[in-house]
Amino acid sequence: MSSDRDTILAGVRAALAPLAARAPLPDWDRDLVRVRTLQPAADPWARFAARLTAVNGTPLTAVADLVALLEKNQWRRGYCDPALWPQFQGAFPAHFTVETAFDRTRVDDYDFGLTAAAGAIAETGTLILTDRGTSSRLAALAPWVHIAVLRREQIYADISAALAALPDDPNVIWVTGPSKTADVEGILIEGVHGPGVQVALLQ
């Protein structure tokens, strides 16, 4: 493999050698990509919630509303991050089956997965998940409903702010609404490989 490395780098050097000057790296002001039509709301959560709704996500502020949503749709089997379990244990009705370990041999036995968000982006309605903060990648992805638990102070104003504060984590994922496709005749369908319902629950 080292020979391929040498071949490629030698090829690159030879290709660039005739250039009299190299193109400089342009600097740019991050205000340029701030969305002008979205007025900054006084409350970051209100702004985030509006954008999440715009991408068909579900912002919730009360555990009771979450339970009502799950109950209404008969989504009663789920997964809960063990670290969040003490906090939610009392909230779920007795006829719910909630596990704190995700069994990958039974991915279809879970209607919902509840995990912690590492942050959010108000401008885009995006939830930020990290590898160290999410108790299971699969539990946040495979069930039909994903609930990310978010705190108000974790909300960044925009993409540039979130990029500037990218956590030191091997895997950071930005989730903007439910999984979707328009591959079949351009018709929007939600819930392709990931969740069909994406909830952000404010704590």
Partner: protein, 464 residues
């Protein structure tokens, strides 16, 4: 008369298919434009900046590539290099064999199409399954994608439903919701059984060594949640200097490709999974692929390597809208493909030398390009290259210009011809036995010959 290959493809395209491609590219283009100009004060400035950043990357790859390699290795990734398509395929196979792996799930990667990986792995007994819904359907049908963002823009739901029925994915049902649910159920088992998740990378930050992947369906995420090994095939041009530059490029990519603010899943990967994480890869392999790119870098057309694969140029292109993607006979269709495919073809350049002519040079592709690639200029350069190389396809459909060139390069002969041309004013041209002229004159009138008058005017003009 359809003398060019692309015209012949377009002529064979069924009318309903052409209408579908036309309508959906047009809709996407209009949404993209409305969103970009509504939300940003200076979209063209953003395109120029993004183009400048990518051009900087290209012209500094000699230092940026070793820098990103060091960063990736420090982050815990294993870095491989592949000069050719064969070397890239072999690298994937070697990694799989070292792990005793036999099953691979693949999130959308154009490089894997370019190197024909699926075919190669199949020959070695390895199943490489596409997970993007469109690519999955293409794979079932042994078809080829016809758009880089919308692989099955050329198919309708009835064909897809028939194909699902044939492959045992359920009785005929052409509801897109049902089609999607069936693919969901089928593919999630495949992710869980797979040994390796293969992806491309939309960007790689030199500053942090983060690989950036975007998908809407969540297939790349699933490919990195279930399997224990991640292989990323990355073209050597995919680098960006700093994390903050992603702010510009991600904003432009999602809007240009699908008129979204952000793609649903944007993933930043620096290495194998965290120790506390139960799911995901224990190994991350990054394969940097050249496969003709250094030759493109050495050419006058190097700006085409800025491309971030959004598909906006094909959505706006009047030729693509009429001909659809298969007419380009290569992995990359549309205006970007008309430049990139012949260049990446290497020795097979003459076989694709007609593609640079598949353009009216209207400039719409340049105007929408999020990295400001002057595609029409590059097309002209390649037309020239094709002609100089004497590629027959480069001349197909073009009248012989030798006599004209001879005339135009002799000033005296040119002047005489311009004056002599007046004779045409006295000829009954409508009666001349020249079929193309007669066909042309059927609905038009030949204007009066005024050859030489411009020169006379120029010589005697009085400056105001």
């Amino acid at each position: 008369m359809a003398q060019q290959l692309i015209d012949q493809f377009a002529a064979r395209l069924p009318a309903d298919r052409r209408a579908a491609v036309y309508q959906s590219t047009k809709t996407t283009h209009e949404k993209r434009t409305a969103m970009l100009f509504d939300q940003f004060a200076e979209p063209h400035r953003l395109r120029a900046l993004a183009g400048g950043i990518k051009q900087h990357v290209l012209e500094n790859l000699d230092t940026l590539l070793p820098a990103v390699e060091a960063k990736l290795q420090a982050n815990g990734a294993q870095v491989h290099w592949a000069a050719t398509a064969e070397a890239a395929c072999a690298a994937v196979l070697r990694i799989m064999q070292a792990r005793g792996a036999t099953k691979l799930v693949k999130a959308k990667t154009m490089v894997s199409e370019e190197i024909a990986l699926e075919h190669f792995l199949a020959a070695h007994g390895i199943e490489a399954l596409e997970t993007d819904l469109g690519e999955f359907i293409v794979q079932l049908d042994h078809d080829r994608p016809s758009h880089i963002v919308r692989p099955i823009i050329h198919k309708n739901r009835r064909e897809i439903a028939q194909s699902f029925e044939r492959h045992g994915l359920g009785a005929y049902d052409d509801d897109p919701q049902t089609i999607t649910r069936r693919a969901r159920q089928f593919l999630r088992q495949k992710y869980l059984q797979a040994d390796v998740g293969l992806t491309g990378a939309n960007f790689v930050s030199v500053e942090s060594g983060r690989l950036v992947l975007v998908t809407n369906e969540g297939n790349s995420r699933f490919s990195l949640a279930a399997p224990k090994c991640h292989i990323a095939l990355v073209g050597i041009e995919k680098l960006v200097p700093r994390d903050r530059d992603l702010g510009l490029l991600l904003n432009l990519l999602a809007r240009s490709a699908t008129a979204q603010q952000l793609t649903v899943y944007t993933e930043f990967i620096t290495g194998p999974k965290a120790a506390t994480q139960p799911d995901g890869p224990e190994e991350l392999h990054v394969i940097f692929v050249d496969n003709g790119r250094t030759d493109v870098l050495a050419s006058e057309c190097r700006a085409i390597l800025r491309c971030i694969r959004c598909g906006a140029c094909m959505n706006v292109c009047p030729v693509y809208r009429q001909a659809s993607g298969h007419a380009y006979r290569s992995v990359y269709p549309g205006p970007v493909g008309a430049v990139l495919s012949p260049l990446l073809a290497g020795k097979k350049f003459p076989e694709l030398a007609d593609l640079p002519k598949a353009s009216s040079l209207c400039g719409a592709c340049h105007e929408v390009c999020p990295v400001d690639i002057p595609i029409p200029d590059l097309l002209l350069r390649l037309r020239d290259q094709g002609k100089r190389a004497g590629a027959p396809l480069a001349a197909a459909g073009t009248p012989p210009m030798g006599a004209w060139a001879l005339l135009a390069s002799q000033p005296a002969a040119w002047k005489a011809a311009l004056l002599g041309g007046k004779i045409i004013n006295y000829l009954p041209t409508k009666l001349l036995p020249v079929p193309p002229l007669r066909a042309w004159e059927k609905s038009r009138t030949l204007p009066e010959w005024r050859g030489g008058e411009f020169r006379r005017w120029l010589r005697h003009r009085t400056t105001p």
